[in-house]
Subunit: 359 residues, 2 copies
Amino acid sequence: MPVNETFLHDLDTPAVVIDLDVVRANIRTFQAYADAHGIAVRPHIKTHKLPEVAAMQLAAGAIGITCQKVSEAEAMVAGDASIRDVLITYNIVGGTKRARLAALAEKVTLSVVADSAAVVDGLSKTFSGMPLPLSVLVECDTGANRCGVSSPAAAGALAVRIATAPGLRFAGLMTYPPAGGEAGVERFMTEAKALIEARGIPVPTITSGGTPTMMQAADAPVVTEYRPGTYVYNDRSLVTRGVCRWEDCALTVLATVVSVPAENRAIIDAGSKTLTSDLLGLTGYGHVLGRDDIAIDQLSEEHGRLISAGPIDLAVGDRVRIVPNHACVVTNMVDRVHVYDADTTSMRSLPVAARGRIV
Amino acid sequence: MPVNETFLHDLDTPAVVIDLDVVRANIRTFQAYADAHGIAVRPHIKTHKLPEVAAMQLAAGAIGITCQKVSEAEAMVAGDASIRDVLITYNIVGGTKRARLAALAEKVTLSVVADSAAVVDGLSKTFSGMPLPLSVLVECDTGANRCGVSSPAAAGALAVRIATAPGLRFAGLMTYPPAGGEAGVERFMTEAKALIEARGIPVPTITSGGTPTMMQAADAPVVTEYRPGTYVYNDRSLVTRGVCRWEDCALTVLATVVSVPAENRAIIDAGSKTLTSDLLGLTGYGHVLGRDDIAIDQLSEEHGRLISAGPIDLAVGDRVRIVPNHACVVTNMVDRVHVYDADTTSMRSLPVAARGRIV
C-alpha cells in the first residue's frame, strides 16, 4: 500500500490509518458494477463512521446512506451537508428514539424498517402528527435468522399495515442476506412483491446488502438497491474469503513491538482495545503485512501476541502494520483515525464522528 | 441487584449501568482481605476508567492505581486530585510516549515496568536529564507467556541495569500471573529477590495481580502488593469461575427487545458495539438476569440474538439486564456510563474519562 512511510513514522502507536487512495478505488469499483447493472448504491456507514467518506461515496454516485442507529444518523447528518437521504435499517423502539427520529425527519429524507406490528404502530403514533409521512420498509428474514418477517405472506400483511397506518408510507422491502443467499433473496422478494402489488400497493424499493456477495448483487434482479459497508475499507475476513486482496485494504493498524520475550514471540502495543476480539470465523486476530509467517494468536486489552514458527526477527521499537479481521469494529474503538491522502501527500487526524453511537 | 427500576426506565438503551452500592461492597471485600494479610492494594483502573471510582478505591485504603497506557494515566490524574501514585505496568517505547511520561512524573509519584535492556535504556535516555529518577520494576513472566523476563537470573541482570542506569531507580518486581499461578509466582519472585539482594540492591516492591485469584494472593507471601481490576465490577466470566455471585456484579447492560421473530428467539438493541465479542472461554455473550433459560448466542454490531429452548416470553419493547462476559471491555465501548447511587437515590451519567486511551 502506498501510505507514505514518513508520515507513518510521525504517528504514535497504536494508530488506525486509512489510505484514501484505496478508499477511492474501492468506492469506484462497486459503483461501476452497480451502475452497469442498474442497482442503486446506499452504502452503510458503520465501517467508516466518517461524514467525509460518506460524502465521497455520494459524490461517486450513491443515492444516500445507511445507518443502524438514530444517533449514528444524527452524527452523519450533522457532519456533512451532502448527506440528505438516510435509511436506518433498524426497528426503532421507544418514545425517546422516535422523538429523535421525528426531529431528524425534518432535516433529511428519512426511511426506517419494521418487522412487527408493534414497531409499525409505535412509528405511526409518533408520525401521525407530522407534516410528512415517514417511509417504512418491511425487514425480511431471507436466511440470516436475525430480524425480519419470516415469510412473504407476513411481509405482505405488514406492508398493508404500514400503508394504512396514519403518518407512515410503505417504501418497500429490506433484507440483510446470508452469505451467498442471492437465490433466497430473489425468491422471497419476488413473492412478497407480487403479494403486495396484488393488493394495489407499489413496492418502490427492494434493498439488500453485504460486502461479501456485492459483486453478485445482480444475481438477484428483483433487488433495486444495495447497501455494502465493509467494501470501503475491506479487511482480513474479506481477503480470506477471496473477495479482495491485501492491497485493497484501506484500513490498517500501526503498532510497535514492545517486547520480544522469546525467539519466536513478540508483543505489540495493539490489543483488543484496538484490533477487537472479532474472529469472524478466522484463526488469529489480524494479518501482519509482509509477514505471512506471523500469527497474532492472542490479544489482551493492550497487548497483541505475535508468534512465528521460526525466529520472529523483530526488535523492541520495530513497527508493524496489521490488517484487522473486521474493519468496522476497529473504527468504533478509536476517537480519531489518521487519514493519508496521496493526492495531497498529507496525513490528517479525523474524529470518528459516529463512533460509539449505540442508541 | 438494588438498582432503582424507576431510574432504569428513564434511560435510553442500550445503556451501561453501574450500581455504586455493589462497587463499594466489592472494594471493601478485597481491601479487608489485603489488610488482613498485609498486602498493599493498587487497583487497575482498566475496568472502570473513572477517576471517581479510583478515588473510592484510594479512600478505602488503596496505595495508588495501576494503568496500562500513558494516556490512561494522564486521564486519571487529570480527573481526580486524590490520584497521586501511578504504576504503569507497560513497556513504554518511543520518544513521544517517554516525553509524556516525563511530564506526568512531574505531577505524581510514577513508576513503570521494563522487561528488556532496550526499554530500560530508552527510559534512562529520557530521565537522565530529570531532577528525580523514574522508578522502574522488572516485569517477570511467571507463566502467562505474554511480556516479562523468563527467568529469575534475567530479572536479576535487568535489575542491575536499572539500578545503574542514569535517571532510573530500581523499584522491584512485577508480574501478571497465570490463573492459579501463586506457586509459580512465589518460586520465581523468591529466587529473583534473593539474586538481586545478593548484589546489594533492595527489592522494595513485588507486585502481582488479577481478580480471579485475588482471594489467594496471600498464598504467595513474597508478594507485597496486588493489582486487581475486574473485582470492582465483576462479570459473567468471574461468576462462571465461582469467584463471585450475580449480585456482586456492579455493571450491567440495559437493553430493549426490538424484534421477536420466532417463538424462541428475540433480538435486543445491544450487540458487539456494547457487549463486545470477548468470550473469555465461555459460550455465549452474556447472562440475562433472571432468565437462566436464555442464551445470547450471536452478536452483530448492533443486534444481540437471544434464544431459549422453550417460548422466549418476551415482547417488543421489553427490557432486559445483562451481565457481560467481560466488564472491562464494555466500559471501553461507551462514552458515558449511568451510575446509580442508592445512598442518594440518584442516577448520574458519567463520562468514561480513560475510554479509548490506547497510546
